[in-house]
């Protein structure tokens, strides 16, 4: 299948490539997916803001040629909310790790979903804290090993997409790095959605998660993703027992609801200024 030739370099700060991510780290594949999505949408780079927190995934902002903001651990959505409210005409994208988005940033995550502010959050879920050396995160599967779960993790994990759905996000989807072209499409639709979008991309940290969990090479990690993934359509026909240990990919939410900055304009500014 011939794919469109894409000029990745157009969206990169080439002087900082190669990036710092480890050999085979899935984060690089997600960055490429974002580029393909943005390229297809033909987003104006000057009007696009990429915000991140802290973590390996958050280092993405250094490489992408947008208005980029590398904030504090877990807080990217708060900064992004301020940016979007201040200048609603900007496209605001947030990149976050699973720890960044759902542990330290968990509160900001659910509240951004609730407000339905037009921000696209891409969660790089590698089931672990990569940057700090492989400690368990809120998405580490039960029984997995991490540098702080040497006897196996006992903490149940978050289902990020279900959490986003329950909290009110208007576009929610999950893809994985193995089938990365699907992520292109979800990211594209997430950016197009006028509201809060969450795209969770299952990725891998071969250096920590892989090494500790018998997934020795980057390719082993990708094969594991393929094995455990089930499409949302197929999942509907499966029993809970069959779905045990599986990761469902696909679109979970795609609905239209009035966006926050528009609502603010319509219901608050106009009222305050006596226009309605």
């Amino acid at each position: 299948m011939a794919r469109k030739d894409i000029d990745y370099s157009k969206y990169l700060r080439l002087e900082y490539i190669p990036h710092i991510w480890c050999p085979g780290c899935g984060h690089g594949s997600i960055m490429k997916s974002i580029i393909r999505a943005v390229d297809e949408l033909n987003l104006d780079k000057d009007k696009t803001v990429l915000v991140s927190g802290i973590g390996c995934s958050s280092r993405i902002v250094g490489y992408m040629d947008f208005n980029t903001l590398h904030t504090t651990h877990g807080r990217a959505l708060a900064f992004a909310t301020g940016i979007k409210l201040a200048r609603p005409e900007l496209n605001v994208i947030v990149a976050s790790g699973d720890g960044d988005a759902t542990a330290i940033g968990g509160n900001h995550f659910i509240h951004a979903c609730r407000r339905n502010i037009d921000i696209t959050l891409i969660v790089f879920n590698n089931f672990i804290y990569g940057m700090t050396g492989g400690q368990y995160s809120p998405t580490t599967p039960v029984g997995s090993y991490a540098s702080t779960s040497p006897y196996g993790n006992i903490d149940p994990s978050f289902n990020i997409c279900r959490l986003a759905e329950a909290a009110g996000a208007t576009y929610v989807a999950r893809a994985n790095v193995y089938s990365i072209a699907q992520a292109d499409n979800f990211i594209k639709k997430g950016i197009q959605n006028k509201g809060f979008s969450v795209i969770e991309v299952i990725t891998h940290c071969p250096t920590y998660y892989g090494r500790k969990n018998k997934l020795k090479t980057p390719a082993d990690n990708l094969r594991w993703q393929k094995e455990v993934s089930v499409s949302i359509h197929r999942a509907k026909k499966m029993t809970p027992e069959e779905l045990e240990g599986k990761i469902i990919t696909g679109e979970f939410v795609n609905k239209s609801e009035e966006e926050y900055t528009e609502k603010y304009e319509r219901l608050i500014i106009e009222k305050a200024q006596g226009k309605i």
Partner: protein
């Protein structure tokens, strides 16, 4: 100065009106006594001026959103009290490091911890200076009277913008809730500063290139520069760097931006200081009791004066040194167990006896307590 309207309002309300005059168009906050009236008033006023108010999920998010809005070009503010001020510290440090203009109001209450939510204190003086980790530049202002709060908020915005630095405005439960007649003026009646930016932002690749005041010329997000902002040590380009020379220089710049411009930041008031043999050094709402004490004792012929720092940080070192040079005794009243007095001790090098007047029982320091300390 043409007065737009005179209002009988509290110090907290004066913060909101001053912010609007200063050009503040974004506020993010989280309710906490005794600061909530600031958020309430901002939620009412901002949309009238086309600005935005948002109540975030906590104080960390509030300051984050305020920094974000500032990066996108809006003059921004957040307000809180002790516990919330503690939560804001990490992002406050981010704004110091990334050099983002911001005003943070802390309406002080008793601490530590939940302490005394509705009682006054001046408990956060050292936290306002050193609350966030790492050597960092900060400007702290502590006005006394309600009318003064209105103008000091404007000055806080001006300093934040001019020097691209967070400014902390400290008031407390007393002057935050005290009501007085306040003359509100329009921005045309006061000096208004805007943040330094490059003349043409398009393609600007050095957001940390500095002007003669050592302040970075940084475009706003969305204006065509596409640069990077990070809390990591960075070079002139805004990108992280591991080069020890560049990193060291960045930290010197942050220090020197305040050091070299401190005369433009410092503001103090002198009351009967020329011939004084005893000097009271008081700030914020405690200074009101100190004023009264000086007035009473002067009428009795006691040569006592009051030095009132309105800018607490950078510390008016020269001013404190000079005003204390010829006195026999210094009295420092504070509603804490002795915080700013440490600066006075440092500057006077222990050569002059200092009498501390402190209380943290939730009651204000009275003029009588100060009089007693002066006479003692």
């Amino acid at each position: 100065m043409k007065v737009k309207e005179s209002k009988f309002i509290s110090g907290n309300e004066a913060v909101a009106y001053g912010a609007i005059t200063a050009g503040c168009r974004f506020f993010a906050g989280y309710p906490i006594s005794p600061s909530s009236e600031i958020a309430e008033n901002m939620s009412y006023l901002l949309p009238k001026y086309g600005g935005k108010f948002i109540q975030m999920e906590d104080e960390i998010a509030s300051i984050g959103a305020a920094i974000g809005a500032s990066i996108a070009g809006k003059k921004s503010m957040t307000a809180t009290s002790g516990p919330g001020f503690s939560l804001k510290q990490e992002n406050l440090g981010f704004a110091c490091m990334a050099e983002i203009p911001l005003v943070v109001v802390d309406v002080m209450r008793g601490g530590p911890s939940t302490g005394a939510p509705t009682s006054p204190a001046q408990a956060d003086i050292l936290q306002s200076r050193w609350g966030t980790h790492g050597d960092h530049p900060i400007i702290v202002i502590a006005p006394t009277m309600v009318q003064e709060i209105f103008f000091e908020v404007i000055r806080a915005f001006n300093l934040a913008e001019r020097f691209r630095n967070p400014v902390v405005l400290l008031i407390d439960e007393i002057n935050g809730h005290m009501r007085a007649k306040v003359d509100i003026v329009d921005e045309s009646e006061v000096e208004i500063w805007h943040r330094p930016k490059p003349e043409n932002p398009v393609g600007w690749k050095t957001p940390y290139k500095r002007n003669e005041e050592l302040v970075p010329l940084m475009p706003d997000f969305g204006d065509g520069a596409r640069f990077n902002i990070t809390g990591l040590d960075h070079s002139e380009t805004g990108f992280p760097t591991g080069d020890p020379k560049v990193r060291q220089q960045l930290h010197y710049y942050l220090r020197d931006k305040i050091e070299k411009n401190k005369d433009k930041m410092i503001k103090s008031e002198y009351l009967n200081t020329e011939d004084a043999e005893i000097m009271v050094i008081a700030y914020g709402s405690t200074a009101r009791s100190a004023m009264r004490a000086v007035e009473v004792l002067r009428s009795e012929g006691v040569k006592v004066g009051l030095f009132r720092p309105i800018t607490l940080y950078p510390v008016p070192e020269k001013e404190i040194f000079e005003v204390c040079e010829n006195v026999k005794k210094i009295v420092v009243p504070e509603m804490n167990l002795g915080q700013y007095v440490l600066e006075v001790e440092r500057i006077t090098k222990g050569k002059i006896p200092i009498s501390k007047v402190n209380r943290t029982d939730g009651e204000p320091i009275t003029p009588e307590q100060i009089i007693e300390a002066i006479k003692d």
